[in-house]
Point group: C2
Chain length 190, copies 2
């Protein structure tokens, strides 16, 4: 029982460090974030951060590990694919954008090459294969980039820049508004 | 003549400071950019930067003043509007993205509220009215945000993140690929 408690406390500490790290990386980007500041935010000693994560690079990699949790798009009828894609990302972001690893990563990726590389890997490793399951590899290769641009553009405009014309829409209106655009892009590949 | 020479040299110095400031803001964002670094890049004394611009905020405002130079969209037939819009931004960015004030501003705007506010003003003050001239104010209000999201998404994915699926396309292919998406969004407002 004691070991279980310690393990559970360890998991909580780890989660607290990752949450603090995501917030720091989000607000300040990679370069300006220090292990010391993350430790202070998580209310623990910096040596504990080092013990759990080794160094800042590894902490960044773990804090910003992005699992898009895309559904199996191969099981979605092609006519429903555009809406399923847009809805998936909107639902992901409507919860708490400041705790969403993809948006945090995006914040860092515009000025930090390490984060940009991680972003490229995330899309190449998750979005492109998910689209390939639905459209086949050749069609997916032709449109994956432009579809990613549209989804990221939405995340950027609504959750990071908060452009009034996008913020004023309900989540359903965003899905309804962007779905025809993604549909048009997918149709281009046919 | 002496006064004129001083004025001309002053204009050159001013331009050199603004160029250096744009590069620094682009590479490092607002917070990490210092007057001292900008002055060093422009090869002048920091006191001169203060004399010309007062402080970092004002330097930022002048360096990142964005004129989208949108054409009179009211003169474009509606069927050609989507392509005209996409082509305008692609041509703007294909030159030298690192010197484009809009992309520089975008880099800062994801982590800096001052830059985000400037971004919102730029779109509200330039894109929305340009669309209103073509679509009327009500239709423009319904779609300006989502159109902005698509154009910014392209700028983000191709020029800042350099996602392979977008970078691999020619400029013409980008225009051809994104035009149907913008067309679908505009059609939603009809």
């Amino acid at each position: 029982m004691a070991a279980h408690e310690v393990g559970s406390r360890g998991a909580q500490t780890r989660a607290a460090i990752l949450r603090a790290a995501r917030e720091r990386f989000a607000a300040q980007g990679y370069e300006r974030t220090t292990i010391r500041a993350v430790a202070a935010d998580a209310d623990i000693d910096p040596s504990m951060v080092m013990r759990y994560f080794g160094n800042k690079e590894k902490l960044f990699d773990e804090a910003l590990a992005v699992d898009l949790r895309l559904p199996d798009l191969g099981a979605v009828p092609e006519s429903e694919l555009p809406q399923a894609l847009v809805r998936h990302f909107v639902e992901r972001w409507e919860g708490d954008p400041s705790d969403d690893a993809l948006l945090v990563l995006l914040r860092s990726a515009v000025t930090n090459e390490r984060a940009a590389q991680r972003m490229r890997e995330t899309f190449a490793g998750q979005v492109a294969p998910a689209l390939a399951a639905a459209l086949g590899p050749e069609r997916a290769a032709r449109v994956a980039g432009l579809v990613a641009a549209q989804l990221l553009g939405l995340g950027l405009a609504r959750y990071l820049l908060r452009l009034p014309g996008v913020v004023s829409l309900s989540a359903d209106a965003v899905v309804a508004g962007l779905t025809p655009a993604v549909r048009a892009t997918l149709a281009e590949s046919g």
